[in-house]
Amino acid sequence: MKVYDGDFISVIGNNGAGKSTLLNTIAGTLSADAGEIDLASHSVVNKSITYRSRWMSRVFQDPKMGTAGDLSVAENLVLAQSHTHTTSLRRYKKADRWNRYQELLKTLNMGLEDRLETQVKYLSGGQRQALSLLMATLSKPKLLLLDEHTAALDPKTSRDVMEITQDIVTREGLTTMMITHKMSDALKYGNRLIMVQDGQIKLDVSGEDKKNLKSEDLVGLFA
């Protein structure tokens, strides 16, 4: 399977089909038994998560997973900003950086711009997930992995977070892979759709074909 620059791929499939395995293998949580994974022309198969994070970001399903709850919103953003200077001995708090974060948080429209110093654990699930999304995209990754990132949210927040996702991905031109259980999201967002079944890719449509795809067609394929 090849992911092209600028692709926004939705991955669907029934439970146990191998979606999460696919994503976890790319992310490095699972090691691959066989095969190759190349990321931005680096072979990353069986490399550490830390190494892969130079080109890749991930938003987890659980809002608590993607953020450090005891740290403030701003501190979380600092962590996400640079993946290569993690042991730098420079002070991380800078006024211009804080202002920039405030601007970015404003674009999320979640009321986070006034809560830079709030510990993340006091935010709602939606706010936490929106923050995770902003953090994942802050370092402009070559590949953004979204692991059912709206599954734990209520329908309205889920829709808001999907809209934010769409905005950021379009604005930054990010290559994205999104696992979802919601057929409507899979059809509505992205330029390419992949359906996984029994560990194999059963369907891979993109462009016009994907636009013409209807949910009835997909339900028929879920055998």
Partner: protein
């Protein structure tokens, strides 16, 4: 009495800060403490007996503790041994190492100058201890405070808070945990080195119970000084060390023999864990009663008692996990 517990407390402060780093920042109960404390003492006193200068010997004590910490860190992260067991293994191993360094179970200093003797003789020994303790504690707190303000410190805090998220953001979490163990045990050994100098001897059994002393002081400090700012949290540890010493001195003054100090330490730890929990329970009960007296309908009463259960659970959990608001 107050003066001597102040001085002793300041000498114990590095140990409490060390325990704070593993217990609160990394969220690991590290038992290496019991081994690295006498390790620092043994290295310092032996070097001094072999003619090294006090400053070199004290620094060597600190570095020895760092090495002990690195060993536990490697056992924990690279070899995948559970952290509690990793600490016990290093602690046990260090007993033999300490015996080899000291040659026998107790080595007294002869006429070597300890750090306190570098101060003018006109000052009383208690005040000398306070001055040395203050200088060292200020250096430790100052360095750690600036470290926690850098990206390195932030990475350390993030690793202890959420490991999965940290590695996804490019932090070498294994390295960070080893680093945390290292400075923590370095500080604990520094404390051992200072206590040995103050006592005038190193003893193989001086590490027994230090983890209880450390944890109790951490909790006592957090009861007296609360805050999210890292400087406040570090200073709370210094206060904790001093107040804890004061409690022990009072107990000794009441006529407890020195042999009973260990069980007193354990009892103090139990009390400082339980008191905030009971306090919170009484507080929520009081608030609930007040609230209920304003309500008249039985239906709402049921809802409220449900809420009470949830909030009291949350509070209990909050204290043990060091939740701070």
């Amino acid at each position: 009495m107050l003066i001597s517990s102040l001085g002793q407390g300041l000498l114990w402060a590095p140990l409490v800060i060390g325990v704070f780093i593993t217990f609160r920042i990394l969220d690991i109960p590290d038992l290496t403490t019991e081994g690295s404390f006498p390790f620092g003492a043994a290295v310092t006193i032996s070097l001094m007996l072999h003619g090294q200068s006090t400053f070199v010997a004290t620094m060597a004590g600190f570095l020895a503790g760092c090495i002990a910490g690195i060993v536990t860190g490697i056992l924990d992260t690279k070899l995948g041994i559970p952290s509690l067991l990793a600490g016990i293994l290093t602690m046990t191993g260090l007993y033999s190492v300490n015996m080899h360094i000291m040659g026998k179970s107790n080595i007294p200093l002869l006429d070597q100058k300890v750090l306190m003797n570098y101060l003018p003789e006109s000052i009383t020994p208690d005040v000398q201890t306070i001055i040395v303790g203050l200088i060292i504690t200020s250096i430790v707190v100052g360095l750690l405070y600036s470290m926690f303000k850098t990206r390195l410190g932030l990475s350390l805090m993030a690793t202890g808070n959420n490991k999965a998220m940290s590695s996804a953001n490019g932090i070498q979490t294994d390295g960070m945990i080893i680093f945390g163990y290292m400075i923590s045990n370095g500080l604990i050994a520094l404390s051992g080195s200072l206590i040995a100098q103050s006592n005038g001897y190193a003893d193989i059994g001086m590490g027994i119970g230090t983890i209880v002393i450390g944890l109790a002081s951490v909790l006592v400090g957090e009861i007296f000084l609360r805050g999210r700012n890292i400087l406040v949290r570090l200073l709370a540890m210094v206060f904790g060390a001093i107040i804890y010493r004061l409690l022990l001195t009072i107990a000794m003054g009441l006529g407890f023999p020195p042999d009973d100090l260990k069980i007193l330490s354990a009892i103090i730890l139990v009390i400082v864990i339980c008191v905030p929990i009971i306090q919170n329970r009484i507080k929520t009960k009081k608030q609930l009663k007040q609230y209920l007296s304003q309500l008249s309908e039985g239906e709402e009463y049921e809802q409220q008692s449900e809420i009470r259960n949830i909030s009291s659970q949350k509070l209990t959990k909050g204290i043990l996990s060091g939740d701070r608001e």
